[in-house]
Symmetry: D2
């Protein structure tokens, strides 16, 4: 059951729950510069300017913040069929749904930790209305004139009770390639970074210290430049957006980052990888030891405590 | 009659005429990120986020575009008195007015070419309303969340029939220091850059090929970074702002630039000098020859034709 | 004979001929910040700091400048076998060689225009000597402390007598995906951009106005930031590197660019795509018309004449 | 005895002592990109590329690191005479010396805390040798092709037993303008920022927790961009330069910063103010309270402990 690499083309979009839908929508549109592209009851669809699909983010009102669905686009109808067969052959279950605008049917299943994953192939390419038409025909939508103006949903970081089990699920059933990981002195894998593309990661599993399942560490949006992130930090302090940590540079994956909380309570990363890609087809999984991690981030910043503890949904006492 | 250097503290604001006031206000607020700070009939006052005074720009409806007043703040009440005396001792005339909000009385006169200059000392420091309060107390106003977000009015470039006569008026009566100039092979000074501050220039005179008087080449706003200018160029093409030339780097003064036209027809520069300053008290006036100018801009871009011909108001046939 | 996408992993390195080997080596090390990683007679191997392989560029002394070999790494040994079979099934010929350090055997063939292509799988991952060890273990080599410090060989632009025939050779035999093209009013394809990765292009064919075959338009190196390119332009003018055009932004592919000539006469591009990628598995080939091309580059810069005429080797009179 | 503002034109250069002269020279040339411009015994003169004078930094071998002389250029010969008279009228003493190349006589005195200050007027403008000739005639020297390439010596931060007494010495005798300060709940002034120019500060006094006198907190060099500082952080980790803290943004003065230690033990700041200037002639001194300082830096970074304790020379036990 060797999965063909390349059946998953890329992450499509993520769904977040928020106890304050209006404030969350305002954050993503005013601060990040996303555009609302439809609403259905208490669910709002939003998109980054360079997304070729209908939406990059789904916001749904709910009492507690947290993660809903992560949607992954396959590289073909056939690839979708292969992945579903592999999941079910491995004892997994799922159900087909057609509950998202702009997309065909989605196969909804969960990873071992319970995070919902939706696989789909059919996807209408976005056609901007007149007011959002870009100047250049190789860009789906005009660059937003407000907020940060992020280019795309970049990656998702899941908290998980068992990092390795979930990472291997992505690898063996979906064809993800692991690029970097943290191994504690005990041998336990505390985090693993995986990719479906030439980006150095699309999906991350991080150990949930609470032992809870199904929680979210953060979702991340890519900016065009590091300057965009420095500008974002200035906009954040002047508009009341809470900065958790950054701007700084991760040692792992070398991403330039800024972590903020959206008003619903979910952690959001702004990230910039410069032009770094992982093109080697035989890239060796890089392992960071506990001691190496103690050195902090790339330029020496110590990782702040809340980074290890804050996840959504919050853990019930 | 040696003028004490330092009597003029800095340029305060500029006034532009526009045949389409609404469109011009929209350009300066939506694209450049200025804030409207008052209106009086067909005159609108706008400010950049780092201006400590009431306004940086005045827009006034008029049939033809062009330059109204350039206002210069003196370094004290005494300095204001000295400059007025010097002007009148040299045969100049002017009149006192109190026609601008946030400012005390202004002495309004003209340079030899007829460009209106207003000198003033009294100026209320801006106090941001709650919605525009910045996070940091050393900044007058929150950083704008839309458009380019320029920091300040940086300089003004006057077209003049006789560059040298006007430059010497600034030098001898107002205490400007010349930092760079273009001298044609004929000996004629085709342009001169002057400063009142440690910036390498605040005021420029450029030869008007039409021989007309009182016209404007451009006013310029400084951005925080060159990246802001690259981002501005992207916003320009996606929002229909006309780019005349740039982004590129001037050889003279080394300014990174982008020239656009506002909807009223006036040329507006976005400029970034990096951290370059002219701190030498004995800075020698630098002269560029006709041949040196033929090399084009710093990185070799040939100067575009309209740069030599377009001025406001347009010349009547 | 549908080629499996993904058999070619990425471009590996390019070979340039130069009539002044020492000056060319100095250009690539001092100005671009590459590192020499071996020499064999009149051939010098150089690498960018983020290349995981032995070399990114080969410089070989020869009377005329021009392009030698473009090497493409396959995604597996099996993929290499498949591509060779496909080439030979289509009537192509090639020969196996083992003439490059750090690599296994290469299959050397040519595209219809005669540009040499080498396919290979085996590649030793680079191990930096102590003096070049990086701080972070996910980077092959320390960031260079001199020159621009480019991250990777990014793409190659071939001049060709028949763009379409060559592009289709890449598509049908090697599995390249076309992302953008120029179609003249006559229907002729004047240029086509193709990719093997998630980058929006790796290989380009441009119509050679002279009708010659086998010539080079340019090879390009990716920088981390647009600021790196602005800094490069300043370094260029202060170290005597000839700037042909830029910095500016292409409309096609939206690449931020600077074109210079290396001392041997070959055109070299510094390019930055920001974080733009083409992730859609069903990306529609974008066609630019002759009229659209007349608008110039993204921000309106007119394409300079030598861009259409200069190629290497120079055409013999 | 009101001092005429403007008698001090700008800071000229600083002298550092170092127990490892060779390593310190290598740091400033290889990492910061300064150029050696002369040596006299165990003293080496270095310059930034945009310094119009002979040198920006003097390194002198000595057993302990620490600060030697800060040199301030006056705005004229007459201004020099006035400042010397004012110092001596206030009971200060000094002596004239001609011990630095490229400069005329210097008047050497000390602030109340014992930091040596040298005032001078005569200064030969730098003429670059052929190898260092810049492309543009408004720049003293070619932009360095190695290291960070800082533009100028930007400011100096003195540790002092009594901040207020020293700041007032600068204000009353030299004409410095205070722009920002920290006032503890006890009423004590813990730090004050002063300027002689339109830069928001040139000289800082910070309370020395040890109560020692004459020590140095840091000297700072200005980069052209924030990107230069991010690049510098990457170069630092790859070349073994110790990063104390940063890159981040100060709340006070809003400077983007990176603090490193040079091999002699002195703290060096790389700083970037964007295009921020203090142009208001009536700029009100801004006071930060103890509570406001507890919020940390602009984007929330907590100030690291060594920032409060490390100074040079080290305090003897």
């Amino acid at each position: 059951m060797t999965p063909p690499l390349g059946d998953i083309a890329h992450i499509g979009h993520a769904q977040l729950f928020t106890p304050d839908l209006d404030a969350s929508v305002a954050f993503f549109t005013d601060f990040l510069g996303l555009t609302v592209n439809g609403q259905d009851g208490d669910t709002v669809y939003l998109r980054t300017f360079d997304d070729y699909e209908h939406h990059s983010l789904v916001l749904t009102a709910r009492e507690q913040p947290g993660l809903g669905r992560l949607a992954l686009r396959t590289s073909s109808e056939e690839a979708l069929r292969r992945r579903v067969e592999a999941i079910e052959a491995a004892g997994g279950t799922g159900k087909w749904t057609e509950d998202e605008p702009g997309l065909g049917r989605l196969y909804v299943t969960t990873d071992p930790d319970g995070h919902e994953h939706a696989l789909y192939w059919e996807s209408e390419h976005y056609q901007a209305p007149q007011a959002l038409k870009p100047s250049l025909k190789n860009q789906p939508q005009a660059k937003p004139n407000r907020g940060v103006g992020v280019r795309r949903l970049d990656h998702i970081n899941f908290l998980a009770a068992d990092v390795l089990a979930n990472a291997e699920w992505q690898e063996q059933l979906l064809g993800a390639r692991p690029t970097e990981q943290i191994r504690l002195d005990s041998g336990k894998i505390a985090a693993r970074w995986l990719t479906y593309t030439d980006k150095s990661y699309d999906v991350v599993y991080t150990s949930d210290w609470t032992g809870s399942e199904g929680r979210l560490h953060h979702i991340a949006f890519a900016t065009d430049t590091r300057e965009d992130i420095l500008r974002a930090a200035d906009l954040a302090i002047d508009t009341g957006v809470f900065i958790e940590t950054g701007p700084h540079k991760h040692a792992i994956q070398q991403t330039f980052f800024l972590y903020v909380y959206e008003p619903g309570g979910n952690r959001i990363e702004l990230c910039n990888p410069l032009t770094r890609l992982v093109l080697a087809p035989d890239w060796p999984l890089i392992t960071w030891t506990e001691e190496e991690r103690k050195k902090g981030q790339a330029w020496g910043l110590k990782t702040i405590e809340s980074f290890h503890t804050h996840g959504t949904p919050p853990v019930q006492p």
